[in-house]
Symmetry: C2
Subunit: 441 residues, 2 copies
Amino acid sequence: MPERLVVVGGNAGAMGAASQAKRLRPELEVVAFERGSRTSYAACGIPFFVGHEIDSLDRLVARSPEEHRERGIDARLRHEVIGIDLVARRIVARDLDAGREVEVGFDELVIGTGARALRPPLPGIDLPFVRGVATLDDAAALLREAERVRCDRLVVVGGGYIGLEMVEAFKRWGAEATVLDSAPQVMRTLDADVAQLVADAMKKLSIEVRLDVEVTGFEPGQVLTAEGSVGADLVVLGLGVTPNSELARDAGIELGARNAVKVDDHQRTSAAGVWSAGDCCDSFHRVTKQRVHIALGTVANRQARVAGINIGGGDASFPGVIGTAVTRVCGTEIGRTGLNEVEANEAGIDSRSACIESTTRASYYPGAAPITVKMLVEDSTGRVIGGQIVGGAGSAKRIDTIAAAIWNEMTAEEVVNLDLSYAPPFSPVWDPVQTAARKLV
Amino acid sequence: MPERLVVVGGNAGAMGAASQAKRLRPELEVVAFERGSRTSYAACGIPFFVGHEIDSLDRLVARSPEEHRERGIDARLRHEVIGIDLVARRIVARDLDAGREVEVGFDELVIGTGARALRPPLPGIDLPFVRGVATLDDAAALLREAERVRCDRLVVVGGGYIGLEMVEAFKRWGAEATVLDSAPQVMRTLDADVAQLVADAMKKLSIEVRLDVEVTGFEPGQVLTAEGSVGADLVVLGLGVTPNSELARDAGIELGARNAVKVDDHQRTSAAGVWSAGDCCDSFHRVTKQRVHIALGTVANRQARVAGINIGGGDASFPGVIGTAVTRVCGTEIGRTGLNEVEANEAGIDSRSACIESTTRASYYPGAAPITVKMLVEDSTGRVIGGQIVGGAGSAKRIDTIAAAIWNEMTAEEVVNLDLSYAPPFSPVWDPVQTAARKLV
């Protein structure tokens, strides 16, 4: 009898592992349970769907349930796994439409349950105009609600990636947008000086950015704060995410950073034959050497590949993350990688930094846009440990060069000499990344 | 009495070294001789001047002679150094306007004489409609000639970077353009399969690309080939460059790769107290471990910095090159780094490669353009040794990621796991560079 792999979750972490394992071991029986109505989709595309840049949620689906089935994966939608029995080696799932429970045994199990938007227990948080956006089903519901109320006034609570991307989406509707953040800056993954550039760019586009504002609750049409209420047709929560790890925890599987499922470098959980990948599990941070929870599609896909190779009989390890991310808010590109100053302090790493201004193309070349690059090095070794970029078109993807430098423990001097590409339509002769590095030599 | 530094040449290699040395040793007396009429300019910008994307050659000047003088560098234009006496430690220069010679002693000397366009000894090569473009003075003369003859038919001899950029420039004029290349492909820095994509893109824009065609000479209005003549109002030579190293050679200074001035990793020539940087000198190739001559502005600037630090009393070394370059031809972006298949063979490195097609943005995101990435790894170690990219907007600068991977001797498996950035407007979740790497694991 062939072994059976059960995967819990229908997105990148779970289905990526399942697909990879099935490719390597075609005889494996694979059953996947997804509580929503779609599989293998790009949640990162949601803001662009809401902003009407993409006309259909189906375009965000990389592989449909039918396509998974054609590849020999029995993908069951609208099935929520509600229990894992590690002794009997079986899961219990609820068929949400039929209202009954099913039990399925497994030899190997992948937990890929993802993460959900944080919803602090504030009065009124469950009012229908207060929305999170983590799944395509969330996105469809959000858009329906926005159209129903003819959203003219959007309030985003929390100025992180998702929040700011939703601001951009609603600006495309012509809605007024306000960002409320309890911190003294937006985008806490950036240092305050760099985040200020983002806030400035938003203000130039008539987006209201209110910092140091604590939201205390919601009433229909109103966001309540310590400083009075703010009118809103719709509220989007952008307060970050928390891993869906309760199922694993209740089964007795160990949790790690920020209550994410704890995994080793092979994506093994604490339970034999049980693996985890994606937004529900933790990762090793290569700079701080600590376990972290970073919910990003890139990380999920890489972890899923590693888990799948190992389930498939290979031997792969996941070397960790450094927190690389990019986004675009109202035409301003933003990239970051490694540690910012706050994170370096918290990790006990003495750092120094340089922040430079340059242009995305040769300064004389048409379309050259301003770009700001901040780079951090470890003081004692000169090794690059962090980078932040804000600028016009062509800025953000340069963060990959800094990411590669951090990954390889390059010093600023090495980055200065790195053989990067140059032609006037693409860069000044010293790439802005190198101009920043030159300040740190 | 302060020491005197003499630099021969007014562009990146020479003036970069002079500026860096002067910053570190302000007491240094610095005299610079440039036979042309400008200093410190971006020759890479010439095609964009010819194509009217940049309205004035002065915009390509990063630092004028006056600005150099304000920084304490005695920059003498229209002075051609015609002899170096290493024993008496002085140079002889000809003042091209006054027609007389001057002698200046030196303690330290930088040779930054650059390179010139190759002009094979063909009949008619000195006709005024046959032009090279290496200096801003060349560019000004070329544009005057093109306007005088009202260039409707451009022929470029040699399908390398400069040749193809000049094609783009003249297409902007509305001229017909023909590229003649003696090789069976354009862009010999790319493999034939990747170069074919460039040729295809050019043909789509009605640029005639004729390969395997040997040019035998020139007559007024005609380029002569073994297969008949081709009408031309103007001919641009794009056959590569050769270092201006005769001055050094005649002084008894050792030459290295392709007759470029031989330097060590501190940019020292074979003569004590004589340094060289830029297009006139050679470099160490980090993959082949051989000396090479690569004439690029990026390399010149980095070498100049190293030379200047050493002259200024510091201790810097230049770790070498890997041949990273980008360009854009008629909307198609092209990047390359490391070794291509031919170069790997020549270097005796067993390699294997993968060539993948992906998109510059998430496939569902508006503006996603095709991108082709070819990656080479050393067969025995799996280390990345080369990369080539051709595609739409947002393609070329990704070559920097491959460059960083080669620089750090990463394997394809490490590249797959590298924490690169992703958001739908910038990339698929697996960056195309990683998709190529996945094929090589």
